[in-house]
Amino acid sequence: MIEFKGVNKYYGDFHVLKDINLTINQGEVVVVIGPSGSGKSTMLRCINHLETITNGELTVHNISVADKKTDINKLRRNIGMVFQHFYLYPHKTVLENITLAPIKVLGKSEKEAKETALHYLQKVGIAEKAQSYPSQLSGGQQQRVAIARGLAMSPEIMLFDEPTSALDPEMIGEVLDVMKALAKEGMTMVVVTHEMGFAKEVADRIVFMDEGRILEEATPAEFYANPREERAKLFLSRILNH
């Protein structure tokens, strides 16, 4: 479904992504971990073309993301994205945040979009906040709205860019629960996170990155029990032992 073939990316002289090869299949939950600055987020953001790749081949549904002829807006409809800092629209209510793209991009009627929005709000457990503004919600609630906003487009793929990193510790659980439920339903998910518990429990596959390279790709059981790479061992020992 998502395929990286020999993808490189540079920021000027800085080599951010080095020869990335990765295939993500339908219904798979892939968790990307690694130290800060290892290129995890950049790789994720290439998938919906928020970042452009320098060379190599990146396809979603066999459509080349970097190709100038590709209708990028059409491609993005099918890929929901959740950001570290939520990025809800502050001048719109929760409901308007969720219905905007379905109305403007998919051409849904207001009534239909509203029904869909309420359905997903229910699903993420905050239907009663439909008329609130984002600033009136807690971080965890805002992030759940952001997830509902992504889901309302009925995407086949959801990208999560450190969705719990900006949250109070107490709020992390509620967001992870929503993500777990989503994974169980068979959503194709790519998640950049530091939540090892989540990775262990939900991931079909863990991708470990360091310095722009994918160093290791394994099931959670394999990865945690027996990481092959020294760097992965070091990373795990540092984050698991405190």
């Binding site: 928020l50 994205m81 950001f83 800092h85 793209a101």
Partner: protein, 212 residues
């Protein structure tokens, strides 16, 4: 003491000019706002030739005296006084408005653009529905300053036979040989426009701040 007979005896003439000042200011206000917004979007659009066009416009226009721009339309293109004045004002003020709006747009977090674009909205839709409505709140105070400047700068019409307040005051002054009093009344007429404008901007600022 002020000679109020200057005002009462020439009230119709003052009013005639006052009307033109208001009309020219209103036209220039609306037009410069639209043009300024367009130029601001040009300056930040993800398309180099537009950026270049926007930058050239701003750097060129805001570094020329308003009078020279008005003369260009009046003597150069042979526009009538009021039209040359209003056009010059529009072109000139738009450069400053563009800068104010650009600063406002840039102050909206980048993630807003990314979130909207990643949901499939086009660049234009994102600007119109997400970025500009947020930018406008930030932009209102500097925009208000530009509008107040615009009303005062409209006195430039007086120099090109623009039939405005200043032009008619010049007529009264040259007929009565009174200078001081005539222009004091002119100042009062301008204040009657700029003070409500100032209060209006303050009110909008408060109201928009509340809606956050």
């Amino acid at each position: 003491m002020l000679d109020f007979t200057i005002l009462t005896e020439n009230f119709d003439i003052y009013l005639e000019g006052y009307k033109t000042t208001i009309i020219a200011s209103l036209i220039a206000l609306v037009a410069s706002f639209l043009l300024g917004t367009l130029i601001a979007v040009f300056r930040i659009a993800p398309f180099k030739p537009l950026n270049w066009l926007g930058t050239v416009y701003v750097e060129f226009i805001r570094n020329i005296p308003l009078l020279v721009i008005v003369f260009f339309f009046f003597f150069g293109l042979r526009f009538s006084g009021p039209v040359a004045g209003a056009t010059g004002l529009t072109i000139y003020t738009a450069a400053f408005i563009a800068e104010a709006i650009r600063a406002g747009i840039l102050s909206v977090p980048k993630g807003q653009m990314e979130a909207a674009r990643s949901s499939g909205l086009t660049y234009g839709q994102t600007m119109r529905l997400i970025i500009l409505p947020q930018a406008i709140k930030i932009v209102i105070p500097p925009l208000g300053n530009q509008f107040i400047n615009l009303v005062k700068n409209s006195s430039i019409l007086g120099v090109v036979a623009g039939l405005d307040l200043m032009y008619h005051a010049d007529l009264i002054s040259s007929r009565t040989y009174v200078t001081f009093d005539v222009y004091i009344f002119v100042a009062l007429f301008y204040l009657s426009l700029t003070i409500p404008l100032s209060l209006g901007v303050g009110y909008m600022e408060k109201r928009l701040a509340k809606s956050n």
